[in-house]
């Protein structure tokens, strides 16, 4: 059963001077149940915009997004979002941050505690449960942010450059954890990144957007089974292919301007 269907989605922003900025143009994409799909593309091509439209955080100017064939009209519990900067509430401890969604959803207290303990364990945050975000490292914060989302058990998880603010080593660890969680829970993931090798390493499918206005330029299916290594033949080949295609996309763009 297709989990998310993005149909003819376009987005036009109005900037401060009242000019129209086309961020996205005619995006069509279907993400299947349990699939891990990444979106890559040059900065400003509309990746975050697309993610926020799927999350229901902002409306599309044209087209529709469907979750299990029902149109998305606003944020909902079926869709979880992990933000780039973790966006933990600084006035809540890790435990309390993880509890936030459950608090709002009125999950019974014992159930909350059970799930929090499970995710503290899963994310290696046991010893930091009662610390505040300002007392954590960036990697820990990101893990807490991911836990806060996954703990709600959403059907689909959207992630916007969740690892871009952490150092290289932490990033590799978090990537491995993410793969492990995806392998065990088989959740649908839509993942935005500007790190090509990260996208190829994690995803079943990588979508490349053109420079703004973002359109789908290319689609890559990665067949290598998880766990993968950065040195696997297919990973290296597809990464190189994507990098080549990105510069081709930039040329297209320039050519268009000249015509």
């Amino acid at each position: 059963m297709p989990s998310i269907r993005i149909e003819n989605v376009g987005k036009i922003y109005e900037d401060a001077d009242g000019n129209n900025v086309t961020a996205l143009n005619n995006i069509n994409l279907t993400i299947n149940d349990g699939e891990f799909v990444s979106i890559v593309g040059p900065s400003g091509c509309g990746k975050s915009t697309l993610l926020e439209i799927v999350a229901g955080l902002q409306p599309a100017t044209s087209g529709n997004v469907y979750l299990d064939e029902k149109p998305i009209t606003g944020p909902g519990r079926d869709i979880g979002v992990v933000f780039q900067s973790a966006a933990l509430f600084p006035w809540r401890t890790v435990r309390k941050n993880m509890a936030y969604g459950m608090e709002i959803a009125k999950v019974p207290k014992e159930e909350q505690k059970k799930r929090i303990d499970k995710y503290l364990d899963l994310m290696g945050l046991k010893d930091f449960a009662d610390k505040y975000p300002s007392q954590l490292s960036g990697g820990m914060r990101q893990r807490a942010g991911i836990a806060r989302t996954l703990i709600m058990n959403p059907k689909v998880t959207l992630m916007d450059e969740p690892f871009s603010a952490v150092d290289h080593l932490t990033r590799s660890t978090l990537q491995e954890e993410l793969i492990r969680i995806h392998q065990t829970e088989k959740k649908t993931v839509l993942f935005v990144t500007h790190d090509i090798s990260e996208a190829v390493l994690l995803s079943d499918r990588v979508i490349l957007l053109t420079p703004r206005p973002g359109r789908i330029q290319e689609e890559y299916v990665i067949k290598t089974k998880q766990p993968r290594s950065r040195t696997d033949d297919e990973i290296i080949k597809i990464s190189a292919q994507i990098i080549a295609d990105i510069s081709r996309g930039a040329e297209f763009k320039e050519a268009e301007y000249f015509i």
């Binding site: 944020p75 869709i79 966006a87 809540r92 300002s134 490292s137 603010a165 150092d167």
Partner: protein, 274 residues
Amino acid sequence: MASDETAVLEEERKTLPTKKKRKKITGITIAQIVFVIALLVYMEIAVKKKWISPVFLAAPTDIFKEGVKIIKDGTLLPHLLISLEEVLAGYALGAVTGIAVGLLWTLFPKVEEFMSAFCSAIMAVPKVAILPLLILWFGIGFKSKLVLIFLFTVFTVLFNTVGGAKQVSDEYIKVARVFETGRVKTVFKVVLPFALTSIFTGLKLSAATAMTGVVFSEMQSAKAGIGYLLAESQNFLNTKRLFFLVILVTVMSVLFVKFFKLLEYLTCHKWRKV
């Protein structure tokens, strides 16, 4: 993360030199203490030797004795209690109203659109200028002081609350929306904690002005209170009592502000620097 860690480092870099400076300053601190002592000694001698008339200046020992006297003979206490009552009641009312209306505005922007022009207009009026009017309406007793202190407090707290609430970052609002937090819960669970810093700024600012307000209004027209006692001492040319009362009011004002610093520390120090 990287940015936060560098922030911590910068914090350390900033505090390190000042610590060193503090050690270097000890010489200056000693000089300052010596200066203050010299000034006190001069005041003492000048008044006692009649170089300066005791109408203009008071000897520190006399100020101290006068203070002890009005505390012991029960002159001070009733006035002190009345002033405290006025300032605490007016302040509490103003602070609670300010925060409540601030949250109301945050919840219902239409209400803000309607009210803010009026509030800004009233805020712009120098409060002391409407004291005569307040006295006409509410008499020279407790009520007019209560209203004045209320007016002194409410707008500062209100605009600080609203200002703090408006600065809440987009990210936190997005998180709230993603978890389907309703309007009211968003305000109480996300916006209010975020605005606390700014609310406390408002509370501290208005704590100092509230004290000024109560003393001033009692000096103008009252039957009791520290301000009344000040005016009375002036009429009787009781300079040493004036000095004592000025010191008392200053200490009270400082303590009042300190109380909110402590409160802020207790509520927020765990998750941010206070």
